[in-house]
Symmetry: C2
Subunit: 354 residues, 2 copies
């Protein structure tokens, strides 16, 4: 990997080094709000085909960058590639979201979990990473990612999405040892998976703990956070003399920001519910912060978007260490022109804070 980065603002912000403006990218920036994404998705035939084709994954990863001057690209993939590679048989049923052919609800199922050979079972992901990195040609850094062990375990135990996480929480409360076995196996796989993405060219990695926020304070600190810490401990931190920063994002995790910032990560992702200035006061001496405008602001007018961007920037305040982002994935019903207004507002309005 010898591509020189033309724009490394994102990486510098994650490392709390000075930048000229606040860099930004948008969670789920390659997504259904873009007609060009929908066209590729249609051509792919299915979401899973799209994830499993490095060519098409590369194509959609670059689409938002061709529209907007974003400061980072993120690998197009799905967090459920990991449980799929662990042998659970991922499929998508129309209108019902992701499903697994097999669930993990007893000791036999835990024992039967396949320990993936990343270079083989998830080669389509590392191939996509290499190919995207090459296609980016140094325009912006490429982010790799994985789901957190707890979040993946939610799907593995429930067998799909859930409103109340009844099955996985019942396991956590009733059979904590079994729960820890699942989380432990998953954490080891995720560590290898993220390191394989780094080896393939990812210049930063992010752990998405989408469902950690459904846990109680005590359960979060028992079942989610320690496994993210184990992953962070095991991550490659530098490659070819360049630092590889990592970001940990628990949706609904604002209450636990102090503990999250203590696991050794470089940056903490914030959803839109926490004031980013308060978050900075609590942990800004330790980590960078990524976030956190309400994605629904993009349904309002460009003027309203601009006003809200200013609020988030002003709340964070002066200096580096802030990567602007939405507090959650961009809605499929977003007008792309409003996303453009957001990007422009962040780039313009943030200069005065640097």
């Amino acid at each position: 990997m010898n591509f020189k980065l033309k724009n490394d603002t994102f990486l510098r912000a994650l490392l709390r080094q000075p930048t000229e403006y606040t860099p930004l990218w948008m969670m789920r920036q390659a997504g259904r709000y873009l007609p060009e994404y929908c066209a590729t998705r249609k051509r792919a035939g299915s979401f899973l085909n799209l994830c499993k084709s490095p060519d098409m994954a590369t194509e959609v990863t670059l689409q938002p960058l061709d529209r907007f001057p974003l400061d980072a690209a993120i690998l197009f993939s799905d967090i459920l590639t990991v449980p799929d590679a662990m042998g659970l048989g991922l499929y998508f049923s129309e209108g019902e979201g992701p499903k697994f052919e097999r669930t993990v609800r007893d000791e036999a199922a835990v024992k039967a979990l396949h320990v993936p050979d990343i270079g083989k079972d998830l080669k389509y992901v590392t191939d996509a990473v290499s190919q995207i990195r090459k296609a980016l040609d140094g325009r912006v850094p490429l982010i790799g990612f994985s789901g957190s062990p707890w979040t993946l375990a939610c799907y593995m135990v429930e067998g799909g999405s859930s409103d109340d996480y009844a099955k996985v929480k019942t396991m956590a409360y009733s059979e904590p040892k079994l729960m820890h076995q699942i989380l432990s196996k998953t954490a080891d796989t995720v560590t290898q998976y993220l390191n394989a993405q780094i080896e393939a060219g990812a210049q930063a990695v992010m752990i998405f703990d989408s469902w950690g926020g459904a846990l109680s304070h005590a359960a979060y600190h028992e079942f989610s956070l320690p496994y993210m810490q184990r992953i962070v401990d095991g991550l490659i931190k530098e490659k070819d003399g360049v630092k590889i920063p990592n970001i940990v994002f628990t949706k609904g995790g604002g209450l636990w920001i102090e503990s999250i910032a203590n696991i050794g990560c470089d940056a903490v992702g914030l959803d839109w519910t926490m004031d980013i200035g308060i978050a900075r006061q609590k942990v800004g001496h330790k980590v960078a912060l990524q976030g956190n405008i309400d994605p629904l602001i993009l349904f309002a007018s460009p003027d309203a978007i601009r006003a809200e961007v200013e609020k988030v920037l002003a709340s964070y305040g002066y200096g580096s260490g802030h990567v602007f982002n939405l507090g959650h994935g961009i809605s499929q019903h977003t007008n792309p022109e409003h996303a453009a207004a957001l990007v422009q507002a962040v780039h313009e309005l943030s200069r005065k804070y640097h």
Copy 2:
């Protein structure tokens, strides 16, 4: 109202006065997990009929008290009685939850909102309150309740439940004035509604802000909290020489607990995500706390339930000011025997903290 209370532990805890043990009730304690509730609900023909019949509302309100030695009863009703009385036409479509015939999305619709005559339009609620209070015969105090203006506005603008609150948030961000008009009208109605419940016999009242937690920090402090403050300001605080405490509960509001405790309320409800000991450190000198065990713990064994009860009690620590509750409504799939185990555990294990 001259019924002497045989058990006023709940009221004393809300006022942070000494008690012998930690009182408890369970959100949605009269609900589908009880076969006797399902029988009455079936006889009623529909959920709305059940809410609108003071006889049957009284019957189901008392059912959980006949099973478990709970320390409070809560009026059986629905938060959507208020928008219904404001002229929106509430109905329930099977499997889709509550719906409104009319939504409130423009100035004309706001102007057309009916200002209810509580004594007439919501007489079925105040009649139920009187009748329940009489039927309770002083066993335990009766809690009246309402949805918060923001939460009610979510339904009024969306026309039903919503995953992302796209319409109401778009209004809040794009047409804040219109949003404030809806919230203002609703807050005035809620104040009168709760006061009418107090006049009819409610001995404490609770405001359920179920969807405040979907807002950003700034939006919560603009669109939800000030209207709950306005209601608290306007509530009857004492009747016949007896204090009428009030409880404010924003689900997902842990991050904002300091501001919530500052609006003049007597108690703050907590969902299960916040450690109640941390909450007490932050605000326990100002308010009582109600909560906050994960309702999903009731899917685990009685031993696991007992261990988790001890955790919550120990986290709150010594002294009064704690009303034990679930962090959210009890699931319809709960085994009633597990609810009994919870009640027993709280009563037994809490004595050492008083």
